[in-house]
Symmetry: C2
Subunit: 364 residues, 2 copies
């Protein structure tokens, strides 16, 4: 069956911007597209023992994350589950931020955990005050705490380092969900003082999917990587987590990933510029301001107003943008929507702002 993408000149979809393959990643995709092609790097070796992969897991990734150890996972959510499954037991309580991704909840429920959420500050900032964890830690004695850094809605950057100190003080294992940070912006597990860091390679690391990374402190190695006595393979990872095309694309893209995080300041500057330009059109950015991430959540009463009278209803915005070569805002949405400015040029962002201006002027 023929499957085709609906492509556009400018794609604003926050879930896609960080996962666009580099040239090198695309070459690896083509080279390693067949099912188990990865075995052809060093015939006869287990994947984890292939020198380039072993080196990547044992040196490159821990250096990059400033973790002690690193492991491929099947995705960010699976990495979160791996940790929860290894260090908690059914009935335990965990504390998570109120901006957490839904998969944090399903992973915890899959482990039969009780979940306590740290509320955000509500509209318009939706901020997480990490100091709020402390009371809850004292009250619930959690098996672990989790912080989404940043979250995928408002993409607020909470004070992860301060939470690291609180976690250290109360000796609670601390997991950072970096699905929207690792691969985009500089981040150090060590500086944050976390026990675990979770990454999404298809979301933020210029890789094919699904693929995630788990970084951790050395002290968790034996628990996470415990081997079966019967078959001498790791139990939590069912023997092998890292098979497939995505691993090759990540390794191939990695040099460029390290380079691009050096330009994070420029990315933030662009996001702020875009946010300010959109606000001039009566489209308000929610979440932290000034903003510290390329993912932006907007509230657009002016577009909602148009949708109420337009014959295409809420779908007019998607269609009008599409006509202008712009995609990535969910069809049907007008009142609230998310975009990412990641790796778009100022010229492209200006084109997007102009498109919004035109659409408002033509339809209001």
């Amino acid at each position: 069956m023929l499957l085709k993408r609906q492509k556009s000149e400018i794609n604003l979809n926050p879930i896609q911007r960080g996962g666009i393959l580099t040239k090198e990643g695309r070459e690896a995709l083509i080279e390693f597209g067949d099912g188990y092609a990865i075995y052809d790097i060093s015939p006869g070796l287990e994947i984890e023992d292939i020198p380039v992969i072993k080196d990547f897991l044992e040196k490159e990734l821990p250096e990059f994350l400033e973790s002690d150890i690193a492991k491929f996972t099947l995705g960010a959510r699976e990495g979160i589950f791996n940790v929860m499954h290894c260090i908690t037991k059914p009935g335990d309580t965990i504390i998570v931020d109120g901006n957490r991704h839904y998969s944090t909840i399903t992973a915890a429920e899959r482990c039969k955990l009780k979940i306590v959420e740290v509320k955000n500050s509500g509209k318009p900032d939706y901020k997480i005050n990490v100091e709020d964890y402390e009371e809850l830690i004292k009250k619930h004695k959690p098996s672990m705490i989790l912080l989404t850094y940043p979250d995928g809605n408002y993409s607020n950057i909470p004070d992860a380092k301060k939470l690291g100190k609180i976690a250290g003080k109360h000796k609670v294992p601390y997991l950072i969900n970096g699905a929207y940070s690792v691969g985009r912006m500089p981040i150090s597990m060590k500086k944050i003082g976390a026990d675990f860091i979770i990454c999404s390679c298809h979301k933020s690391m210029a890789s094919s999917g699904p693929l995630g990374i788990l970084g951790a402190k050395k002290k968790w190695e034996k628990i996470l990587f415990k081997k079966s006595e019967l078959v001498n393979k790791e139990i939590e990872f069912i023997g092998s987590e890292s098979r497939g095309t995505s691993v090759a694309t990540l390794i191939a893209s990695f040099t460029k990933i390290k380079e691009r995080i050096e330009n994070w300041d420029k990315e933030v500057k662009k996001a702020r510029y875009f946010s300010a330009e959109m606000e001039k059109l009566g489209i308000m950015q929610l979440g932290e301001k000034p903003h510290n991430h390329d993912l932006l959540f907007f509230e657009a009463p002016v577009l909602y107003e148009i949708s109420q009278k337009h014959k295409k209803r809420g779908y007019f915005l998607h269609q009008e943008l599409k006509k202008r070569g712009i995609s990535g805002i969910k069809p049907g949405l007008t009142k609230n929507f998310k975009v990412s400015t990641y790796q778009l040029t100022k010229k492209e962002l200006d084109k997007v702002v102009s498109a919004f201006r035109e659409i408002i002027e033509e339809n209001l």
Copy 2:
């Protein structure tokens, strides 16, 4: 970093032969290589709701597997874990065949299950007599039974249908691990009488990896796909299992997969021919004879004898084959090794046999 495959004219690696992309699969690979490109089929829809994917999961796959329902998993082993995790509880006993893959053991240990194995018949056939399950079922009252069909060592095809009757009689949930069958040979969950069937797309379904499929009877739907009340997403699959490039390659390859299983008779005939020709060289095929699968396990005392005197020791075989454009036998192995004849032509197999003949004649 530049990653390259060591390619050869003829690759005999059993783990790779069924996962080679079709032309259509390769087109989908390139189209959907970026991280979350799959969202571009129908912008705004959840992956499971994209019509072509929904149709594939709800119609094409259940028809193909003769299951009631089907679901993508992150691989065969993850699918086995999904089932175990949903239908057993820690401390339960399961019964598996002695030829099971190591990941059956790690998946069970990850669920804290007790494992009872049905022994195989030992050398030279290593057959599983499915009638042996019945006594063990009576004795251990297992939460589920598992049969590897075929196993990845001797690739024996056990009497899965007979075990279906035994499972039915004792009302024990019955899982078929079809990682080496689904996508290669005709197989029907319904005819076998199994509750679950597990597939490996990167191993046997001309797909990029990692990707698996879980087929199941309707009666397990509510248990497997139970949703979180907090976030309205499936708990066992942490909200979404089917994201990524591999899904696109599978769907694109699927028409060819359905066609190729119609030629299974020819594949078996080729495997038997190859086995007989190798035996003429003093290389014995272990496992069922006549053989019923493309994966063949050989015992080659003659090659082992050479390795004892050769300056390259056990590595001579790999090197001699490589010189002749043949790969896929693990470097270092001579006494026992596995190959697959899947989708190789008779001419190619003759070339392989000639190579072995030459290597023996030149080195003995």
